[in-house]
Chain length 351, copies 2
């Protein structure tokens, strides 16, 4: 039985044109079935433009759309008939195996938490953005939780490790704690105690503190941080990359010499663009949800959306969530043992 | 009377070779006098290599050096005869007008606070790193205070504004609050209340929240943030920039086509490098110290050190510190008025 992907095609800057085209491309390339949620007339019009046959697709018609400006809570109340809310309920009800959406991040996160629910034992889910270097670096949390505890960070480290192991075939993903220096005393009190917890956590490969300058230097595979710092870091990388692509572009626009140079370097440029293209990665999984939910970038084009679908298929087929659930059980067992040891010690001291 | 700059030439990765060469270059280019603090034999040997006459320089011999691994507090105790500690005391004693050092950031900050002292009324000094875009963007704090209050952020905004006004001739520098979104409700409780304070502060031009992706987009001139986030942001920009420069370099190394393209683009490449070169900026002022202290990057070459000296000269000659002191007075007056208003209101309510 092939995997069934639910796609909310109505969110984001280029929806539903690019998202529907992304689904059509994915259907050609991957062995998967699709439930397309959105405005049926628009979906059919776009498919007609592409001369695509929609008979193999299940279309669930919705009229409402959650916009980027909407309050995240609207997914539960004011806009519970929106494409996103309907898609989340289809996932929760087991109609499909995974959900991909380019919509409002806050609403998708809120809906995933309240409709699809967290993995048992997990304290906080997080958004795992991927830095498009080679191999990619996962940054968790990149925006869902502006404040976290050291236990949250430990669980992020566990989840991120499983994800990179399963989806990128890494044997022992290196986990770094984002910090303002590499020494173990660095950071706020949160980082200082998180460092100790991560160093003691048996099911991850902790390589210590990671500075901002080390993210693109292949120093680690998973960066754990609070969602405030993670969001700023991811967006800073995005902004700096765009800045450089613009600089490179303007270099080739400098006269006839630039034009010739461009022709000479055409292949290297397109290789580089492809290698560093965030659209190649496609999306950020919301790690910790009990079923695969992928947030595709709001500005996704068809290729990015197709790649987000590819990621969702891999997320399902590798059963990463099953292994995250096991890791959360291990966390709970460890915490229980810690508590018992502490109780035994205090009893001993009282005797 | 020309400006007198004190230089600690012993700190950093390339000291004292590059730092001494930087001083010699600065002496040729700028109208200033110098007090060179460091190992006299090494200083004279480097000057001899450069065929430079040292008779116009005052050399203060020191033997000890604070390394990058040393505890910052050593500047006050274990290594109070180090080049950095001696240089700081010379500045405090009025022997020179400004100090430039490539040494251990923590030690320089600690020494600046304890030996040279803060500006009256200032709560926290901060390190103001400059992002090498055009025009540069000042990020304050970029590492000194991992945790801050909203009043600290307001004072950072005031100081950063004065610095950009005075040193870069900006009439009304735009101040942004680094955050994980542009809406005024974004961030931790700190950012939410800082937003209100900054919006109400009469002596700055607050343009709202700034996302990481906006820093290199000419959206603001001064970014205020805590030292933890600021440090990670600055280093992330640094790392991403290095990554791209490496990518660009490897593009031109791809065969004979790459080599020809390089020749065709040589001028554009060197223009771009110059425009984005952190060495062109030279250093980061420690804003809030009662006398100008510039921290040059630990990996500074002679050019970077020379430019840090140029920055120090501008810092002195524009009397930016005098204006920062006025701003701190305005802050104190405002706070006093706020307190009186609150007291009057509570008295009125009690009647």
């Amino acid at each position: 039985m092939s995997i069934k992907i639910i796609v909310d095609v109505m969110g984001g800057d280029n929806a539903p044109g690019e998202t529907v085209r992304g689904v059509l491309a994915a259907a050609k390339e991957y062995d998967a079935q699709f439930i397309i949620v959105g405005d049926e007339a628009q979906i059919r019009a776009i498919a007609a433009e592409e001369n695509a046959d929609l008979s193999a697709f299940r279309i669930v018609h919705t009229q409402e759309v959650i916009t980027m400006e909407d309050n995240p809570a609207c997914v539960m109340r004011a806009k519970k008939e929106s494409s996103m809310a309907v898609a989340l309920r289809l996932l929760a009800d087991g109609e499909g195996d995974a959900l991909v959406s380019t919509g409002n991040t806050g609403a998708l996160f809120t809906g995933a938490m309240l409709i699809v629910k967290k993995i048992r034992g997990l304290q906080r889910a997080g958004i795992a953005a991927m830095v498009p270097v080679n191999p990619p670096v996962l940054v968790l949390d990149s925006g869902a939780n502006v404040e976290v505890t050291e236990e949250n960070l430990e669980q992020f480290a566990q989840m991120g490790s499983v994800y990179m192991k399963k989806l990128y075939g890494m044997e022992s993903p290196r986990v770094g704690l984002l910090n303002n220096g590499t020494e173990d005393c660095k950071g706020t009190p949160l980082q200082v105690s998180a460092y100790q917890r991560l160093a003691a956590c048996p099911d991850i490969n902790f390589v210590g503190n990671i500075e901002g300058s080390m993210i693109s230097k292949n120093c680690c595979d998973v960066v754990v941080t609070d969602g405030f710092t993670g969001n700023i870091t991811i967006k800073t990388i995005e902004g700096t990359s765009k800045f450089f692509f613009k600089e490179i572009k303007s270099m080739f626009k400098s006269g006839i010499g630039g034009a010739i140079a461009y022709l000479l370097l055409k292949k290297s440029i397109s290789d580089m663009k492809k290698r560093l293209d965030p659209n190649e990665i496609g999306g950020a999984p919301i790690l910790g949800v009990s079923k695969p939910v992928i947030k595709a970038h709001g500005s996704s084009n068809a290729k990015a959306f197709k790649n987000a679908i590819r990621q969702a298929i891999a997320y399902v087929s590798t059963d990463a969530i099953g292994e995250i659930a096991d890791a959360m059980q291990a966390f709970a067992d460890r915490k229980k043992a810690e508590k018992q040891a502490a109780a035994a010690e205090s009893a001993e001291q009282q005797q």
